[in-house]
Each structure stands twice: as structure tokens, then as C-alpha cells.
């Protein structure tokens, strides 16, 4: 048993993946010296020739990974910040996500693109973004967004082993903030399954990343007030675990969907829509979303950043209202 941070879990999984399969390699900006968050630190010495510093050009990082995966390698690409992935969007939309479909499964792309996302780190407009809304609309791609170190480790391993392209989202605020005891063996977590992290009969909260931790903290304090929440850690955002989402919604009849991203067009709309269609008869209250306000990007100055980010207090307030409905 060892206590690991999210960052250590990621680094551990990368080392394990490089160890387990000679076809794996890592590419990205500054990865040879460990990367700006030090997720790849120490790996170059252990795995000579299998870390590749790329030029500063994100479309090439993803495009080259596609080619290498088609050849039969298992590239693990790092995009330094999720905010810089947009110039590679075309390679995701037009190429990676369609590869298996258009070859009718003859070729698939066993590649992972890891990237740190999310705010609360004084990263301002271009180092704080949530990008899941764009990528969860790409059938053919998988999108994974864990919250706890053990899941980071096991889902990153599973992502590398997956024959399909996976976008692996690492919430940068949690890198050093969240710790957990981890078994020697990777926990059994499977891409495509969410987890009910806490059970309570009054309402269900759906979240991922930093917001999952904020939701758990809110649930804890609400429990002291007598409001019992179910909390679902979504873990995989595409393909979604619709079954768990609907089951918990039906059980509690009230739902609160939380994300750090802005509201309109955010990923929460999909969950709300699923519930409003398929759990409609069980609903006892409006389907509630809590998200950042509709402004173009997270501001840098502390007060504005805090205003932007949902947190345990805002979640508790929303949950309290919902419970009282």
C-alpha cells in the first residue's frame, strides 16, 4: 500500500504502461525533461528512446500519433495544457474519431492523448479550460476524466490498452491536492463505467474531476444537516454509463449535475437530457445543473476566479434548495 497523489498515480501508470508493452512511447512538448507538471519525470532514464520531445505544434502531436497508432505502435501523447488542444481539433474530429468507422474496424487507433484541464490554479483564460463538451460529441473517441488517484492509475492503463483513441483528462488542480492509498495492483476500473461513490436517498449529484471532490465535501456537510446525497463519479464521459445515471436518478428522484465548465452547451446538458427523457416518471423536482457562468473563459484575478468556479458551498446551496423542493 502506498499513498499517491493524482500526479504520482499518472506517473506510475505511465511507467507501468511503458514497461508492459514495447509498442508504447510518449510524445509531447518538454516530456523528456518531465513535462511542465512533471508527469513524465524520470521516465526518459528508465526508457531510453521512448520519450520524444516534439516541436511546439499540437496538430502534429495528434496527427503523428494517429500515424504511429495506425502502424501498430501505442503512442501516449501529452498536450501540455488542455487549452492548447484546439488547433488539433480537426485531427480529432475528421480523423482519429472516424478511423475505425471508415475502415469498418480494419484499422483502429490505440492512442491516448493526455492533457491537464480545469481551473482554480490562477491559470487565467488559457490555462484553466474545460474541454470535455467538445470531445464528448465525437463518437469513435473515448473521453475519460477520473477523480481519485487509483482511478487515474487504472484508467490510464486501460486507456493505453484500449484499441480506440482515448482523450484522458487530468484535472490539474487535483494533481498534488488529492491523495489516496493505492494497492500494489491497479484497481479494477473499466472505461465506460461510472461509480456510485456515496449513497443517499434525497438526491443524486453527478460530477467528475475537481467537482467530484467538491461534491463529496458538500455531501458530507449536508449529511450533518440531514440531507443525504448519492454522489456519482462519472469517470468516463464518452461512452457514458447511461445505466448508472438513470438508475441513481430513478432512485432519488432529484438530481443535481455539477461541472466546472460554463453552463450553456456544456456537458451537463447531455446528462440532464438523458434523465429528463428516460427517468422522467421518477422525477420529483426540476433537473438542476450547476456550472460556471456563461463567460468566454475563466478569469485570472483571484476574486473573479473564485466567483467563476463552482465549489462545495455553491453545491451545498443548490442541493439544499433541491432537497427542499
Amino acid at each position: 500500500m502506498a499513498v499517491m497523489t493524482v500526479l504520482e498515480a499518472v506517473r506510475t501508470a505511465l511507467g507501468e504502461a511503458l514497461d508492459a508493452d514495447a509498442r508504447t512511447f510518449i510524445l509531447g512538448e518538454d516530456v523528456e525533461t518531465g513535462g511542465v507538471f512533471r508527469a513524465t519525470e524520470g521516465l526518459k532514464a528508465r526508457f531510453p528512446g521512448r520519450l520524444i520531445d516534439t516541436p511546439l505544434a499540437e496538430s502534429s502531436i495528434v496527427g503523428v500519433s494517429i500515424g504511429a497508432a495506425h502502424y501498430g505502435m501505442r503512442p501516449i501523447a501529452e498536450i501540455q495544457f488542455a487549452d492548447f488542444i484546439h488547433s488539433a481539433f480537426d485531427q480529432f474530429v475528421s480523423e482519429a474519431s472516424r478511423w475505425s468507422y471508415r475502415t469498418r474496424g480494419e484499422s483502429s487507433l490505440p492512442m491516448v492523448v493526455r492533457t491537464p484541464w480545469g481551473g482554480g490554479v490562477h491559470g487565467g483564460q488559457h490555462h484553466s479550460q474545460s474541454i470535455e463538451a467538445y470531445y464528448t460529441h465525437l463518437p469513435g473517441l473515448k473521453v475519460v476524466a477520473p477523480s481519485f488517484p487509483a482511478d487515474y492509475r487504472s484508467l490510464l492503463r486501460a486507456s493505453v490498452d484500449d484499441p480506440n483513441p482515448v482523450l484522458f483528462l487530468e484535472h490539474k488542480r487535483t494533481y498534488r491536492l488529492i491523495r489516496q492509498e493505492i494497492d500494489g495492483a491497479a484497481a479494477e476500473t473499466v472505461i465506460g463505467r461510472s461509480r456510485v461513490t456515496r449513497r443517499g436517498g434525497d438526491l443524486t449529484i453527478y460530477a467528475y474531476g475537481l467537482m467530484l471532490h467538491e461534491s463529496l465535501a458538500a455531501a458530507e456537510s449536508l449529511s450533518a444537516e440531514g440531507i443525504e446525497c448519492t454522489v456519482v463519479d462519472l469517470l468516463t464521459l464518452l461512452p457514458l454509463d447511461v445505466e448508472t445515471i438513470l438508475e441513481t436518478a430513478r432512485n432519488t428522484g432529484k438530481v443535481l449535475i455539477v461541472h466546472e465548465d460554463t453552463l450553456t452547451g456544456g456537458f451537463g446538458g447531455e446528462i440532464a437530457a438523458l434523465i429528463a427523457e428516460h427517468a422522467f416518471e421518477y422525477l420529483d423536482a426540476p433537473v438542476r445543473r450547476l456550472a460556471a457562468p456563461d463567460i468566454p473563459a475563466m478569469p485570472y484575478a483571484h476574486a473573479m476566479e473564485a466567483f467563476f468556479m463552482p465549489d462545495r458551498d455553491k453545491i451545498a446551496t443548490a442541493a439544499r434548495e433541491l432537497a427542499a423542493y
Partner: protein, 338 residues
């Protein structure tokens, strides 16, 4: 009667070509087959039997000369939508070409999921591509990187038009490939137009090959209407890349003798005189004239090829027309690989 007896003057000439007699025959037959297929495809489109056609008429020499420089079954071809003739070199049959045009269920390039001319067959090492131009240059670099890391002595040849060299992905691909000295040939078919835009609107340089200078990359510009010259330029570049000499940018100067696609009316922007001038340089006519002058083949043999090709195209259309269409629900499936 051996070939030598039959054509006493041709042997030395053929040696100069760096191509065997058999290769020259293949070259001619493939160019001709591509041409006849394209003509027939356009006709099928005009008859309402194929909603869309895009072809490579005028670029047959550029394509066949280059593709024949590769090792089939080993080297990778990452083509673009005009590369029918390259695909023929890599093993595509006329029947298959028609399956693809007609988007039939058994089209091996995706079974009707993509527009025609979006080829890709894994077993042949022809790599699937979309319509968005220049994305494939990065895939080619990635394949070349993987091969280099695997000490696999292959070469990747990827194609695009000159207009597509304006895209960011072109730059990122060449930059990456040269930094890592990858075995990849960036093969640009400069056919003078990007739809309606002539080259001076697309680039501020006289030759696409000049773009290599930004990357310190080997480059060449070749007369793309001359299949033999193309082969003589591309083959050494491929050999050099295979030996670890790094990437190459090659421009084949050719001409789009047809409209951009079946949806385009090129009379709106193309001067008639220009088209006529280039028609004089038709790569197939040129090739035939040259091998006839050099007496490589007797005229009868060339005529035989012509007949064979005509029959093949006719058979392909008839056969493919009767193949099953995809079922509606075939649209589902293969979204993920299990």
C-alpha cells in the same frame, strides 16, 4: 521470338530509362486504365448513376511514376483523392475502383461510408484518409516515425495538391519529419489549380519545391507529365529515404485536365487556350509517342493494351453495378473497435 529479337533498338534505350520492359508496359497500362476509368466514372456521374466523381486526369504520369518507385506490400502509400492511378499500382482492380465509385457494400475502402476516391486498404498499406486536405501528411510522418523506431526499413509516400501546401498541417508535417529525419516522401502534385484558384493565389513562390528550404529538406521538382522522368526522380529519393537519408519534398508539375470534380464547371475560370496548351502535353500521349519513337514496343502491343483496358473497364462497370448496395443499418457499427 524474344523481346530482344523483336525490338533490336530498344534495349539500350530501355536501359537509359532505368526501367525494365515489363515495368514500362505496366506504366503504360496503368496510366491508360486510370484514364479510362476516370472517363467512364465521369460518364456514370453524368448519367445519374454516381452522385459524385473526382478524378486524376492529367496526373497519371505523376502518379504511376511515383507509386512504382515504392515496394508494394511493404512501403506505405498515404494518398489523396486524385490518386486512382497510384492505387492501381498498389493492387486495386478496375472492378474495385467501380465498387468504390458506386459506394457498394463490398467496396473495401469503407463500404460506401465515404465519398468515392477516399481510399484505404490495410493489407495493401494504403492508408485511409478523409476529405480535409493535408491532415494525411502528419499521418505519414507518424507512420514513418513508428517505422524508424521499429527499425523497419520502409518508406512512406504521401500526396497532396499544391493548394494544400498552404495549410498549417503541411508545415507541421515537414518540420516534424525533418527534425526526426524520417523516411517519408512528401509528394505534391502541382496541377496548377486549387479548384478555381491558380497557383499565384495559393503561394508566393514559383515552385512548391521551394517550400523545402524552410526545413533544410531535400527537394526536387520534376516534369509530372513524363512518367519516366518522375520515376527517375522519385526512385532515388525513396532509396535514399530507405537508407536513412531523411525525408524529401518532391513536386510533380502537372495539370488538371478535367474539372475539379463532377460538381465543378471549370469553364468559369480556366482560359481555354491554357487547357489546349496542356492537352498537347497529355502524359499518356507523350508516353506512347516516346516508347514508339524509341521502339520499345511495337504499335500492335500498345493497341493490345488499349483493348485489354477497354474490356476491363467495361467488365468492371457491369460487374460492379450488380453488386449489392449497403443496407440502411450498415450505417451503424464499427464506431469503436472492441
Amino acid at each position: 521470338m524474344t523481346a530482344k529479337e523483336r525490338r533490336p533498338r530498344s534495349k539500350e534505350t530501355i536501359d537509359q530509362y532505368l526501367l525494365s520492359e515489363q515495368q514500362l508496359e505496366e506504366m503504360y497500362e496503368t496510366m491508360l486504365l486510370a484514364r479510362r476509368l476516370n472517363e467512364r466514372m465521369l460518364a456514370l456521374n453524368r448519367q445519374g448513376r454516381a452522385p459524385f466523381f473526382i478524378g486524376g486526369t492529367g496526373q497519371e504520369a505523376a502518379q504511376v511514376g511515383a507509386a512504382m518507385s515504392l515496394k508494394r506490400g511493404e512501403d506505405y502509400l498515404v494518398p489523396y483523392y486524385r490518386d486512382l492511378a497510384m492505387n492501381l499500382v498498389f493492387g486495386m482492380s478496375a472492378r474495385e475502383a467501380m465498387l468504390n465509385l458506386l459506394a457498394k457494400k463490398d467496396d473495401p475502402h469503407g463500404g460506401g461510408r465515404q465519398m468515392p476516391s477516399h481510399w484505404g486498404v490495410g493489407s495493401r498499406k494504403v492508408v485511409t484518409g478523409g476529405s480535409v486536405v493535408a491532415t494525411q501528411l502528419l499521418h505519414a510522418a507518424g507512420i514513418a516515425l513508428a517505422a524508424k523506431m521499429s527499425s523497419d526499413p520502409i518508406v512512406v509516400l504521401t500526396c497532396c495538391g499544391e493548394g494544400s501546401t498552404s495549410k498549417g498541417d503541411f508545415h507541421e508535417a515537414l518540420n516534424f519529419a525533418q527534425i526526426h529525419r524520417l523516411p517519408v516522401i512528401f509528394y505534391v502534385q502541382n496541377n496548377g489549380y486549387a479548384i478555381s484558384e491558380s497557383t499565384e493565389k495559393e503561394m508566393p513562390i514559383a515552385h512548391v519545391a521551394d517550400r523545402a528550404r524552410a526545413y533544410n529538406m531535400h527537394s526536387a521538382s520534376v516534369d509530372g507529365m513524363d512518367a519516366i522522368a518522375v520515376y527517375q526522380t522519385v526512385k532515388p529519393a525513396v532509396d535514399q529515404a530507405r537508407r536513412g537519408g531523411g525525408p524529401f519534398l518532391i513536386e510533380a508539375r502537372c495539370y488538371r485536365l478535367g474539372a475539379h470534380s463532377s460538381d465543378d464547371d471549370d469553364s468559369r475560370y480556366r482560359p481555354k487556350a491554357e487547357l489546349e496548351e496542356w492537352t498537347q502535353k497529355d502524359p499518356i500521349t507523350l508516353f506512347r509517342r516516346r516508347v514508339e519513337t524509341d521502339k520499345v514496343f511495337p504499335p500492335e502491343e500498345l493497341d493490345e493494351i488499349e483493348e485489354r483496358v477497354t474490356a476491363e473497364v467495361q467488365d468492371a462497370v457491369e460487374w460492379a453495378t450488380n453488386q449489392p448496395d449497403p443496407a440502411p443499418e450498415d450505417a451503424l457499427g464499427f464506431v469503436y473497435r472492441e
